[in-house]
Amino acid sequence: MSMQSSLDPQSVTDAKAGQVTVPMWLVVLLAVLGYWGMVYFDHHGGWFDARVYAPFASVSVVNELQPVSGAEAFVNRGRAVYETTCALCHGSDGQGKPGQAPPLAGSDFVLGPSGRLIRIPLHGLTGPIEVRGQVWNLAMPAMGAALSPEDLAAALTYIRQAWGNNAGPISAAEVEAVKAATAGRTLPWTAAELKSIQ
């Protein structure tokens, strides 16, 4: 019987563990499977980000589909900052409030050189000023001093483009530059001082 012959001591000593080379097709198959796995992960893994679900592949894809992006998002952020820090006095419609604050819509301070506008919220403004042909003599505190340069830039960009205003955007870098140039100043600005800034 074959059972017996395999137990035959002679044939057991003859048995050797041979070296069989891995067949080439298996190596290729494993490589293809590995590659497919990585591609699949790339498309479906979302790099383990909890905000990425199928059918989206990555955060950047989700980001592109968000309601607003780019310049629009910046202005929207600006609107939010304006509503929380400035609108109380200047009004959500930018028309100001009699006896409290002058209008921002159509104001030369807002539409003029960015250096002037940035200085106003950074340190405040006091004394007589003229806005849209009307003289105001009040004092504005340094409302923007505590804001981040990005937030202040966004708010100023918003007031330069809302309510029919049509002036260029203000970047965070410009705000930072003015902050650096006026470091150490504690007094509010006056209209005469601002006039000398271009």
Partner: protein, 298 residues
């Protein structure tokens, strides 16, 4: 080292690796999840279910509704498009501009579309194309909006506006996702069937609104009482001829009311960062949404 210990160590590493990826890391991410905010309104989401609906969740659980209903809407992609929300002053120029960027329209279709705003000018295009098409239309005075509409078989059935995400289930313990769809998915049933009486009637006798339904009646969540004893607003409004007989009315027990409150709280349509949806007011997610509701509502 012998081959056996290598095999042991490598398979152990393999198992630790997959355990890390499929159990530990998701637990770290989702286990510590807190409320998020909707985009772009910034409302806190989700808010805890009101008391009655929270009780209803326990009824849903104890009745085993999840054995036949899932609560998990899937999505296959998004369709980006462009819609006009305001015409502006120069309608003639706008019509010309639309015909130039979207030649598939006929002039009379465009004019009719502009009468009924918002008007979906294009759909199923690349985001860059929609963004490019925007400029000539805005130049013609229109206000436009790039739309992002989730699409997929579940959404076409009207089961929701977008896919379900982990945030939808933040306040649910346990999360009853379900695994079989003997009946329709319920993740958005509160948006699709907000009518309390409709849902109660469906629990009392599913055949009334959906003849041939596989769902068993849940009569024991109701009581049949003499009409004289019951205030009319507490009784179920049943269609003619389906009532329990003359002088009798069907009154939902508190469990039935709680269960329906829970069902009505299932909405899962808040726009979140992870499921972008941009549609102007007045454009529904999938046109099938309204069709489905019209078929199922009495």
């Amino acid at each position: 080292m012998s081959r056996g210990s290598w095999i042991f160590i490598l398979s152990l590493l393999g198992m630790i690796g997959s355990w890390f990826g499929t159990v530990l890391y998701p637990q770290i991410q989702l286990g510590r999840m807190v409320e998020t905010r909707t985009v772009p309104d910034g409302q806190v989401y989700p808010v805890a279910r009101p008391g009655l609906a929270a009780q209803g969740r326990e009824v849903y659980r104890s009745q085993g509704c999840y054995t036949c209903h899932s609560q998990q809407v899937r999505q296959e992609g998004v369709s980006v498009g462009l819609a006009i929300t305001k015409v502006g002053t120069n309608q003639t120029a706008l019509v010309e501009a639309i015909l130039r960027i979207a030649p598939q329209w006929r002039r009379d279709q465009v004019t009719a579309g502009l009468e009924r705003l918002p008007f979906q000018v294009m759909d199923g295009v690349a985001a860059a194309e929609a963004e490019r098409a925007r400029r000539p239309l805005e130049a013609a005075g229109a206000t436009t909006m790039v739309t992002v509409r989730p699409v997929g078989a579940d959404l076409a059935r009207g089961w929701g506006l977008r896919r379900s995400v982990a945030a939808d289930f933040l306040w649910d313990h346990p999360v009853m996702l379900g695994s079989q769809r003997v009946g329709p998915d319920l993740a958005g049933v509160g948006s699709r069937l907000p009518d309390e009486n409709w849902l109660l009637v469906h629990l009392w006798d599913p055949q009334i609104h959906t003849p041939g339904s596989m769902m068993p009646p849940y009569r024991y969540l109701f009581e049949v009482r003499p009409a004289a004893e019951v205030a009319s607003q507490d009784a179920l409004l049943l269609p003619e001829g389906k009532g329990p007989g003359p002088g009798k009315v069907v009154v939902p027990r508190p469990e039935a009311r709680a269960l329906v409150a829970y069902l009505r709280s299932l909405e899962a349509k808040a726009p979140l960062f992870e499921t972008p949806v941009i549609l102007p007011a007045g454009l529904s997610g999938t046109s099938a949404l309204s069709v489905h509701a019209a078929v199922e509502r009495p």
